[in-house]
């Protein structure tokens, strides 16, 4: 028995279907240009409305290779403990100690600082691995070696400074948890100290970004002549 392929006689229906898949094709092209995987690009043909946030979201989420720095595990552990403490306190008191937005900003800043330390570590490792050609020790080679050593010195100094700051911020997370514990014992009267500590933590974390960018700027100078 022959199967009859029934096609809608309404051109409007056809236009709607073509319009949907046309938008899907446009979405696929946009995702492909952004460097997404083939699976996601193909998925956009069918389910592009679900991927609107990916289509119009920040492109840098995929454009760079994420790096877990030396403080990654401690940041995760510290924030997890802080969230647990806040959740416990929240269950006993109607007042909100910290919003999710604050915690998210805190985590973002810490991760970015950790990322910067890791980037500097990589740069230091690359510079250390770069050895001048010792068979022909001419003036340019000696100049290059001097610059390399100066850059390494600056980078190491900046790296240690940033790492120290990050260590202190992580230590502050612990003190905030202590304040939260006190709040749980003494109820609403200690909300203000907890919020103050969190605000102080936010300020300190915000300073991490300024400090790191300043140090990164200074580290670039000795290599400018190469």
């Amino acid at each position: 028995m022959l199967a009859i392929l029934w096609i809608s006689r309404s051109t409007v229906a056809l236009a709607l279907v073509l319009g949907y898949f046309g938008a899907g094709a446009a979405a696929s092209m946009r995702l492909a240009r952004r460097g997404h995987a083939l699976g996601l690009v193909a998925s956009a043909w069918i389910a592009w409305p679900l991927l609107i946030s990916v289509l119009f979201g920040a492109a840098e989420l995929r454009s760079r290779t994420p790096i877990v720095g030396p403080f990654g595990a401690r940041i995760s552990q510290g924030l997890a403990s802080l969230r647990a403490s806040l959740a416990e306190a929240q269950s006993e008191s109607p007042l909100e100690l910290a919003s999710q937005g604050q915690l998210a900003s805190l985590e973002l800043a810490l991760r970015q600082a950790d990322d910067r330390v890791a980037s500097v570590d990589r740069l230091i490792a690359e510079l250390e691995a770069t050895q001048p050609d010792s068979t022909q020790p001419d003036a340019s080679t000696r100049e290059f070696e001097r610059s390399r050593q100066a850059s390494l010195l600056t980078l190491r100094s900046a790296r240690e400074h940033a790492a120290d700051e990050l260590e202190q911020v992580l230590a502050m997370l612990l003190s905030v948890r202590v304040q939260i514990g006190l709040h749980a014992l003494t109820s609403p009267a200690t909300v203000a100290p907890v919020r103050e500590r969190l605000a102080e933590l936010e300020t300190r974390v915000a300073a991490l970004a300024e400090l790191s960018s300043f140090d990164a700027g200074r580290a670039a100078l000795p290599l400018e002549g190469c």
């Binding site: 028995m1 199967a3 309404s10 229906a13």
Partner: protein, 277 residues
């Protein structure tokens, strides 16, 4: 330690196979959106293709089984349309769900909602595929057409409930009067699923009826259900007219007298197909 525990850490999710993801989907899908440490958008990017693949595979398997009632090319047609039956209601109903939840003071990002809905649909599709052998067994004994349709609808309802549960469980806590939003969403998705099934018909085709990929856009699922109920009590003669902006230019079928018809007289296949699905 539970040997079946599956990590939902970013590294494990990105490298997980489809089979492993299926296991996670069936056990505790809400864990895939309940991880504070992971960027939800990155997770959506990782999982969307896999979840869609599971939806297509599971839906197609279910469709093929439903198509087995008629056989021939209906295997292919039903297999192609069944995933759409699961996806279309979700695509159309998601803005409404988001609006209901916002009215109940639960604002959530489109990313989270998209991920939750993909999980729900994929889970429904996988469960539908899992129940396919049972459905095939029933359809293989060639039950009455209406019973076959009911079996298909009943299966979809049974597997749809865990899917809807997944959707609500994947949403964040909080908000006020959330049961109101859930009840409204259930009503919207239920109506959309029923109407989408009508729109994409036929799925279950009588053994001697002509096979078509789609029927004309006419009537609606509610009038057809009413007609089926009347047919069950011996009152035949329902006329399905072209409906809606897209269906009104379809030529109307020949009108049948709306009176009791001798059940000994067999109706033409096209007249029989005016029933549900």
């Amino acid at each position: 330690m539970n040997s079946h525990a599956t990590s939902t850490s970013p590294a494990s999710v990105s490298s997980t196979s489809l089979l492993a993801l299926t296991g996670l989907l069936l056990r505790s899908p809400e864990r895939l959106v309940d991880d504070h440490e992971v960027d939800l958008q990155a997770r959506l990017i990782e999982l969307a293709p896999k979840l869609l693949a599971l939806t297509l595979i599971g839906g197609a398997a279910f469709g093929v089984v439903v198509g087995s009632y008629r056989g021939s090319i209906q295997y292919l047609y039903a297999g192609l349309k069944a995933p759409l039956l699961l996806l279309l209601p979700m695509l159309v109903g998601l803005p409404a769900l988001r609006a209901f939840l916002a009215a109940c003071e639960l604002r959530l990002s489109w990313t989270r909602l998209a991920l939750a809905s993909l999980l729900a649909v994929a889970r429904t599709a996988v469960l539908a595929a899992a129940t396919s052998p049972v459905l095939w067994l029933y359809l293989s004994v060639h039950p009455d057409y209406h019973r076959a349709v009911l079996a298909m609808a009943g299966t979809l309802i049974v597997v749809g409930v865990p899917g809807l549960w997944t959707l609500t469980a994947s949403l964040p806590a909080g908000g006020r009067n959330r049961p109101l939003a859930h009840a409204a969403a259930l009503a919207v998705f239920g109506v959309l699923l029923a109407q989408t099934g009508w729109l994409l018909r036929p799925f279950v085709v009588r053994p001697r009826a002509e096979i078509a990929l789609f029927r004309p856009i006419e009537a609606n699922v509610f009038s057809s259900l009413r007609a089926t109920q009347q047919a069950a009590s011996g009152r035949y003669g329902w006329e399905a007219r072209g409906a809606g902006l897209l269906g009104r230019d379809v030529a109307e079928p020949a009108e049948l007298p709306f009176e009791a018809v001798d059940p000994q007289v067999e109706l033409e296949p096209q007249q029989q197909e005016q029933g549900v699905f």
